[in-house]
């Protein structure tokens, strides 16, 4: 039974982004000739208000029932256009995007070739959309509780932000106390406030808040469910298993310091007076800055970018070490007024509020700033001779003077990089977030959605998505809290509908699908002898669909028919055009 299909196709110029490399007018003209295509237009900015209004108007005027937009990546604008369809009274799934910007105009250099490819992509989309079906959004109730992984400053802030509104929080911390790295810090840059005085009242607020339940010595193994209705089992320190149910997850698992033992030049672990920034921070906290021999150091060298900004270690910048190093210099100058202080740096990155001023102020305190090449020529630390009157010598080419120098040091502080936690991968798996090469979590969009992830209801904040200072971590923590508070306030959330569904008439009951489902969303109905999909648990990966020997399982919105006709469309046009 073939009902009439009325497709509207829109080819976007994206200013010149697409139009420069693709003959959009020609694409629209050619595609307009395809069967079922009622209308094919090109327009300067499809995503703009007038662009969207154009679609809505056409849907009404031409009685369209499906829309193809050929523009940028669907990852950017699929939702925008789906909403437009909805506004026009069409089911949002009667929509398909052909990506002719990221996959064509931006990556190819021959206009003819690019136009040809664009045509085949649009033709494929037209073919595919012929088989699209209406899918209805479902909403689920939101469990107002939130689980927060990580009890550092970001986790604490998020917990308080939501907890203070009277909603339940489960705060999970793998160590035996709250506070994270901030608990080991003496003063914060650039205004030298006491970290203790900042952190302790916050921890007190957390423990005193009846809405916040803290689980120490606890790790997260696996989280089941979906946005609004997650659950997990945890085994806190006392060994008793607890089951938690919650609607949202905030991952604030933070960072760990880099182990500089791997950098041979610095001799960490071999030279006793080479210490890490964290160890030095402890000394400051305890009020005793002494070498392993117990003497006050006469010369202290601080080496920046240890494990950062270098291809052999981490390529990224760890963002907070420059300021921490400047803070150390200030603290040293106060604690040991006569000590010689050397800052060996690559670039001083004092970019935050009040930070450049802090740098200016620090540089007036008789501190010697020495620049080295962090990419190709790391300083080398060696034990000094007796006649040198110091414990160690640091050798490198000083870039600002061009001299090869030897810096005397009785203590060397290595400003170590910050890297992903050891269990970053485990947590990523448990809650379903992606990681980049450095094992930092990937946010949904680096600019527009910096704390959400591609998994609904899961947020990543603070250091676990890349190194951050305190205010930036807290801003992020609160940003996630805002999102969660908004959903709690509404009480419901929409869930994805592109799940798998079993055609019970064809299912042979082989149960192959039951085994491949990573979410145990498929069970076997003994009575009927067929597989059944729990649509709430199904995340729509489609693995079952491609495993099913009889084709009984359909992955909604990614059905065999849709993809096969997409392939067909892709090829037929491309060959046809090639022959011309």
């Amino acid at each position: 039974m073939e009902e009439e299909k009325r497709i509207g196709v829109y080819v976007c110029w994206c200013g010149t982004n697409i139009a420069k490399m693709v003959d959009v007018v020609d694409v629209a003209k050619e595609i307009g000739k395809l069967p079922n295509v009622v209308i094919a237009k090109d327009y300067k900015y499809m995503c703009s208000d007038p662009g969207q209004e154009l679609i809505i108007k056409d849907i009404k005027e031409h009685n369209l029932d499906r829309v193809v937009v050929s523009a940028c990546s669907p990852r950017i604008h699929e939702l925008t256009f789906r909403k437009a369809l909805q506004n026009a009274g069409l089911n949002p799934y009667m929509f398909e995007m052909a990506n002719i910007r990221e996959q064509v105009s931006w990556v190819h250099t021959d206009r003819g070739e690019a136009t040809r490819k664009a045509k085949s992509l649009v033709a494929a989309a037209v073919n595919r959309i012929t088989w699209h079906e209406s899918l209805d959004k479902r909403t689920v109730d939101i469990n107002p509780a939130t689980m927060i992984i990580g009890g550092g400053i970001a986790g604490i802030s998020a917990a308080l932000e939501i907890g203070n509104s009277g909603r339940k929080i489960f705060l999970i911390e793998k160590e035996n106390k709250l506070g994270g790295h901030l608990a080991g810090v003496d003063l914060t840059f650039p205004y030298m406030y006491s970290a203790d005085q900042i952190l302790k009242p916050l921890i007190k607020q957390v423990t005193n808040n009846p809405n916040i339940e803290v689980f120490l010595n606890t790790q997260i193994d696996e989280v089941f469910g979906y946005v609004g209705n997650f659950e997990t089992k945890i085994t806190p320190g006392d060994g008793k298993e607890v089951e938690l149910k919650f609607g949202n997850v905030i991952v604030a698992s933070g960072l760990k310091p880099y182990d500089p033992g791997g950098i041979e030049n610095y001799g960490y672990g071999k030279l006793p007076n080479v210490i890490t920034s964290l160890e030095f921070e402890q000394m400051l906290k305890k009020g005793k800055i002494v070498t392993k021999e117990g003497a006050e150091p006469k010369n202290v060298a601080i080496i920046h970018c240890v494990g950062s900004r270098n291809k052999d270690y981490h390529e990224y910048c760890s963002r907070i070490c420059c300021m921490t190093a400047l803070k150390f210099s200030n603290q040293l100058r106060s604690a040991l007024p006569d000590t010689n202080i050397f800052e060996c740096y690559a670039d001083i990155r004092s970019f935050g509020k009040g930070c450049e001023e802090f740098y200016a102020q620090t540089s007036r305190k008789d501190i010697m700033f020495l620049m080295f090449d962090q990419k190709n020529d790391l300083p080398r630390i060696r034990k000094a001779e007796t006649m040198d009157e110091c414990d160690m010598l640091i050798e490198f080419n000083e870039l600002l003077s061009g001299e090869d120098i030897e810096v005397p040091a009785d203590m060397v502080v290595l400003m170590v990089a910050l890297e992903a936690q050891e269990n970053a991968r485990d947590i990523a798996h448990a809650v379903g977030v992606s990681m980049c090469g450095n094992e930092f979590y990937i946010e949904r969009h680096p600019k527009l959605d910096p704390v959400a992830t591609t998994t609904d209801g899961v947020y990543v904040v603070g250091g676990c998505q890349s190194p951050k200072d305190i205010p930036d971590s807290i801003s992020q923590a609160r940003a996630a809290a805002a999102r969660i508070l908004a959903t709690i306030n509404i009480g419901q959330v929409e869930v994805e509908v592109t799940t798998a569904v079993v055609n019970e008439d064809i299912c042979c009951g082989c149960q192959t699908c039951v085994n491949v489902c990573p979410y145990t969303a498929i069970s076997f109905d003994e009575e009927k002898g067929v597989s059944v999909v729990n649509e709430v648990l199904c995340k729509g990966c489609g693995t079952c669909g491609s495993t099913c020997p009889t084709g009984a399982i359909r992955s909604r919105h990614f059905t065999d028919k849709q993809i096969l006709s997409q392939i067909e469309g892709l090829m037929s046009t491309s060959i046809e055009l090639q022959e011309v």
């Binding site: 990556v107 992509l121 494929a124 693995t543 669909g545 990614f558 067909e568 090639q578």
Partner: protein, 141 residues
């Protein structure tokens, strides 16, 4: 004009498609022979998709998924790997060169790797010459 092959690529939504987008936003140039189809997971790539691509006239098929251990759906990419091996055996039996199918892991941050992969694979397929499958089927039917 030299022979230009057509390559169909199946990219998973979470890693590889994003990686290809990154290649685009970073304006990395690569061969225009590749046509991308988005699937939610490389595990969704049914062997029939691959075969049907050849049936429709593709000269090569590329499947890209998340790196092992990074799958958004835990282990879809492993399932895909198994099918890939299976398909390769099947290809041998059919007399197709096994290089006509390639499986690679491309993460969301590997735009450059994606562009390089497309270029090198296009070169590979070019060297293999046109795939005769479509013609064979057409003559047979």
């Amino acid at each position: 004009m030299s022979y230009e092959p057509t390559i169909v690529a199946f990219l998973c939504n979470w890693c590889s498609y994003t990686g290809a987008d990154l290649a685009g936003t970073s304006r990395m140039k690569y061969a225009s022979n590749v046509r991308i189809i988005r699937v939610m997971c490389s595990g969704r790539v049914d062997p029939t998709f691959v075969l049907s691509a050849f049936k429709e006239g593709a000269d090569g098929v590329l499947i890209c998924g998340c790196h092992p251990g990074d799958c958004h759906y835990h282990e879809g990419n492993y399932k895909c790997l198994r099918r890939y091996h299976l398909l390769q055996k099947y290809f041998q039996q059919m007399g197709l060169d096994k290089d006509r199918l390639r499986l690679e892991w491309i993460s969301a941050s590997e735009g450059r790797q994606f562009a390089e992969l497309v270029d090198s694979y296009t070169e590979t397929v070019k060297n293999l010459g046109p795939c005769k499958m479509k013609q064979v089927i057409e003559t047979l039917t």
